[in-house]
């Protein structure tokens, strides 16, 4: 998950906003907490941001802030998707999930015609994992079980799904925003950022 970073100083210079504005926007949840990356440099602690994401976000806020209140802008970035539900047909039609994935879900959780947002997200992650070609159908079933069990605990964090295999035995790991190190014999077959997938899903659902 290497990405280009921008320092706070450089960011303020490029965008012309002040420290006060940046802190206010953070307070109003316009900028997610985990974009603030603290690093030690020779001048002491400095804060960095993922370059493209933060520049895009600040330009958007700047263009909207004359017409909308900060709270309204915050809702725009974080729409309340918890309330959203979609019918099974709708999910299939919009190509969010495939029939196969829905079938796995039905096997495990019984027949459902309407999915909640959390469920759609779990299905979407499974769909992506299967599409990657790295996991088998059986492993996909295991993945869905893992997601149902633990995805709630990762809410709001920069979670990551890691799929590993060692000596033919496979395992899924759902990790919070931390670095993971493996022993050399471990094959990392798949790494998916849940935050990225969530954003992708949001776009598709709009």
């Amino acid at each position: 998950m290497e990405q280009e970073l921008i320092s706070k100083k450089e960011l303020l210079e490029m965008t012309g906003i002040s420290y006060g504005q940046l802190y206010r926007w953070k307070r109003k949840n316009l900028i997610p907490e985990d974009w603030f990356i603290r690093k030690s440099t020779y001048t002491g602690q400095e804060t960095f941001f993922p370059r493209e994401k933060i520049l895009g976000r600040i330009n958007k806020i700047k263009s909207m802030k004359d017409d909308l209140s900060l709270d309204e802008i915050a809702r725009h970035f974080m729409p309340d998707l918890k309330q959203v539900t979609l019918s099974k047909e709708e999910c299939l039609k919009r190509n969010i999930v495939s029939e196969l994935v829905v079938r796995i879900f039905t096997e495990q959780n019984g027949e459902k015609n309407v999915f909640t947002f959390d469920q759609i997200f779990q299905l979407f992650v499974l769909e992506k994992a299967l599409q990657s070609g790295q996991i088998s159908l059986e492993e996909g079933k295991l993945l869905l079980k893992t997601l149902v069990l633990h995805a709630g605990g990762l809410k709001g964090k920069n979670g990551e799904l890691v799929f590993i295999r060692k000596m033919g035995v496979s395992a899924f790991i759902l990790a919070g925003a931390t670095e993971i190190f493996f022993d050399p014999e471990v094959n990392v077959l798949l790494r998916l950022s849940l935050a990225d997938l969530l954003e992708e899903l949001r776009l598709r659902m709009e």
């Binding site: 100083k9 210079e13 002040s18 420290y19 006060g20 802190y23 953070k26 307070r27 002491g44 602690q45």
Partner: protein, 236 residues
């Protein structure tokens, strides 16, 4: 709706109430939701509390979150995340998580383990913030040693508290350590006294008496008093 009154010593399971009044020792096991929680003795809650108004005159211990519009702590309180509109503390409060308020008026002491967010942060007491103090307006009168890992905001003003006479008395007894310590302070308009910080960054920066600062970076104006120790100040 029912009231919950504990006079003497008693325990209750949680639930939804109108008024909850504890005059003695009380224990509530479970989440509590009410319009007014008033503690005159000691209360221990094993759960989260949501109330329109909370008044604590004795001691209160919440294992979970505290969420209210108006909280007044004149005794002592400890809780996990605390969220409210106006928070007045003339006693002592401990927050074992994040504190998020619109307006904080501090005359006693507060200890926040993680972040503290406020639109208005007015302190003439003692505070310790484990991570970031982020507030629109920060107005501090120092009466002791205050700490925050990082401070950020629009207007930040830190001054020595008390009259000259009081300060003289204090200095005679070697109690003059009224400072605010932070690693980084960033804001638009900074007016600082008795600060110990590694880095101070802002648009308009005034560094007053008793400051010890490693690096000052400013955009527009900078002025430093004679009594201030600033290793380096540079215009960005």
């Amino acid at each position: 709706m029912r009231d919950l009154v504990i006079s003497g010593s008693g325990s209750a399971s949680g639930g939804t109430f109108d008024h909850v009044k504890i005059s003695g020792t009380g224990k509530i096991a479970g989440d509590l939701e009410c319009s007014h929680l008033k503690v005159n003795g000691a209360l221990k809650v094993d759960g989260n509390v949501k109330a329109k108004k909370v008044t604590i005159n004795g001691t209160a211990e919440f294992s979970g979150r505290l969420d209210s519009e108006e909280i007044h702590i004149q005794g002592t309180s400890s809780s996990d995340d605390l969220k409210c509109k106006t928070l007045k503390i003339s006693g002592a409060a401990k927050v074992n998580g994040c504190l998020s308020v619109e307006e904080l008026k501090l005359k006693g002491s507060i200890d926040v383990e993680k972040d503290c967010e406020a639109e208005v942060f007015e302190a003439s007491g003692i505070f310790t913030i484990g991570r970031l103090l982020n507030a629109g307006t920060i107005d501090v009168k120092l009466y002791g040693t205050c700490r925050a890992k990082e401070i950020g905001g629009e207007k930040i003003s830190v001054r020595k508290g008390g009259s000259r006479f009081n300060r003289l008395i204090k200095s005679l007894f070697l109690l003059a350590d009224d400072t605010l310590k932070a690693e980084v302070i960033e804001g638009d308009d900074l007016d600082l006294e008795n600060i110990k910080a590694d880095v101070v960054r802002g648009n308009n920066v005034i560094i007053g008496e008793g400051c010890e600062i490693g690096l000052v970076e400013y955009k527009q104006n900078y002025s430093g008093e004679n009594g201030a120790k600033v290793t380096e100040a540079k215009k960005i």
